[in-house]
């Protein structure tokens, strides 16, 4: 099989199944009269009507902003605390049971709790998102910081690389693959919490809108919302992967090299 044929085959494999599924959905639902499963044709045609530029600005944008704010807070807090806890064995031993418990609490359950303090505004949603996202980031940072290679650590020490320089050039860089794993998990949790916090109590937002459609039995509209949410999740994960590939280029190269040599 020559090069061009190989490329064509790969392209085919990437596109084939999704295309088949979409077509199957289209035809299976085309003459559907079930109000819960409107024809795909209807859903797609409703899409631009529902998600106008205005609605995107008024609902989707605030959702995304809240997600970003909560995620950013969680990232900063998680990495900072995780570095401290991971660097000192004693601190880790002291914190461990409490952390294990706190991270075991299903994050959506905290929505009613946080609502007590923060009301039902943006602060509440950002707090909810942050409180859920921080755990994977924090725990993964602790693991990453702990696992700094001993030889590398001694090398740094022997060359007088200590303190902030050590943190910057050695610890955080060495832990970054693990930290990114935590950031990735946190992203999926963040999206879930963004939607849930809006379903619970909001006046705008993607989750809020979808629930409004459901309550008002605007089923095709609801479906467009679900599709949009799915699309959002997909796009964010692609963006994340691109960012990760840039930041962790060295790590992927290192792993490939060691895999090849072994």
């Amino acid at each position: 099989m020559n090069g061009l044929e190989r490329v064509m085959l790969r392209l085919f494999l990437v596109v084939a199944l999704p295309a088949v599924l979409v077509v199957a959905w289209w035809f299976a639902s085309d003459d559907s009269t079930d109000i819960y499963w409107p024809p795909l044709r209807t859903i797609l045609s409703t899409f631009p009507d529902v998600w106008t530029g205005e609605r995107l600005r008024e609902d989707v944008l605030p959702s995304l902003l809240r997600l970003s704010a909560g995620y950013a807070c969680a990232a900063v807090a998680g990495v900072a605390l995780g570095t401290v806890i991971g660097s000192y064995r004693r601190v880790r031993a002291v914190c461990e049971p409490v952390l294990e418990f706190l991270r075991a609490v299903p994050p959506p359950v905290l929505v009613p709790v946080i609502m007590l303090f923060a009301g039902i505004g943006d602060t509440m949603k950002i707090a909810v998102i942050a409180s859920g996202c921080v755990w994977p980031i924090l725990l993964n940072t602790v693991e990453g910081v702990r696992a700094v290679d001993s030889v590398m650590s001694e090398t740094a020490r022997s060359y007088g690389v200590t303190g902030v320089a050590r943190l910057r050039h050695l610890v955080l860089r060495s832990a970054s693959p693990q930290i990114f794993a935590g950031l990735r998990q946190a992203l999926s949790i963040g999206i879930i919490l963004m939607v849930i916090s809006e379903m619970f109590a909001a006046s705008n937002g993607l989750g809020f809108t979808i629930v409004q459609f459901q309550r008002g039995f605007a089923i095709p509209d609801m479906w467009t919302g679900i599709l949009l949410l799915g699309l959002l999740g997909f796009v964010l994960s692609v963006v994340f992967r691109l960012v990760e590939r840039r930041a962790l280029g060295w790590y992927h190269g290192l792993r490939d090299a060691s895999r090849r040599s072994s």
Binding site: V98, P106, P112, I192
Partner: protein
């Protein structure tokens, strides 16, 4: 070393609980919004005495267990099928990559419409979310199979099923266990979330009721219960994983030449 760590951990826990007692009492936060540890403990005791609590707990665990089982079986079957059938892995890769990041909560409105507050709406969410965890891990595990072992098995004329049993499964088992562990945690989160948002019977629904009736200490107590439940599941899953893999390692040790 272990002893000191356990002591330090206990100290940390005690300090945390003490803080939880002191901070509201000192007025640093409003007692109504953040009851002291002792009051939460009281509410917890009240809950334990309440039969409805135990029913709710049972409901949550039922949804969790059934959903997890379905997801694990489906995930393992799908994972193995996709991995052993030629070209199926590449063909499904794009679909999986697209469907995986879709937040399960997107299905909540659909679940509400279809099943209302029945168990099935909980199952819809739990199975959807947990399935991906298992599937991804199973596929990692299959990828990890030593090609030499596979070739050897094939040259000895072992059919597909025999190869799955003797080569694929032992290699994939650690990954499957990881997948089950992750799925178990996710299943709990989704079960409780579904109950919280949709109102299906269970701990989540009980929390929602406590919230609307402003029974704050009870709400906190239930949150603690979910945390403990999650903790038990995490620890339990890790223990099962270790046991299963201990057996697995020793078997592998025997078979390895």
């Amino acid at each position: 070393m272990r002893g000191t760590n356990a002591l330090l951990g206990a100290a940390g826990l005690t300090a945390f609980l003490a803080l939880g007692e002191a901070v509201p009492r000192l007025g640093l936060v409003d007692e109504d919004y953040f009851p002291p540890t002792s009051r939460i403990a009281d509410a917890l005791a009240t809950e334990f005495a309440d039969e409805a609590f135990w029913t709710a707990l049972g409901d949550t665990l039922t949804g969790w267990a059934i959903g997890l089982t379905i997801a694990v079986i489906a995930g393992i079957l799908a994972g193995i099928l996709i991995s052993v059938t030629p070209y199926l892995r590449e063909a499904t890769a794009s679909t999986i990559e697209f469907l995986r990041p879709i937040p399960s909560v997107a299905l909540i409105p659909l679940a509400v419409l279809l099943y209302g507050t029945e168990l099935r709406s909980v199952l819809l969410l739990v199975v959807y979310a947990s399935f991906w965890q298992v599937l991804v891990q199973v596929m990692y595990g299959v990828q990890d199979v030593d090609p030499v072992a596979e070739e050897t098995a094939r040259s000895y004329g072992l059919g597909t099923w025999a190869r799955v049993r003797h080569v694929l499964w032992p290699t994939a088992l650690p990954y499957v266990m990881t997948g089950v562990r992750l799925a178990a945690a996710v299943a709990l989160i989704l079960a409780v979330t579904a109950e919280l948002v949709i109102g299906a019977p269970g701990l989540g629904a009980r929390i929602a009721v406590a919230q609307t009736s402003q029974a704050v200490p009870e709400m906190y107590a239930l949150v603690v219960v979910t945390g403990l439940l999650g903790l038990l599941i995490n620890v339990g899953a890790r223990t099962v994983e270790r046991r299963a893999l201990a057996w697995h390692q020793s078997v592998r040790g025997e078979v390895a030449v």
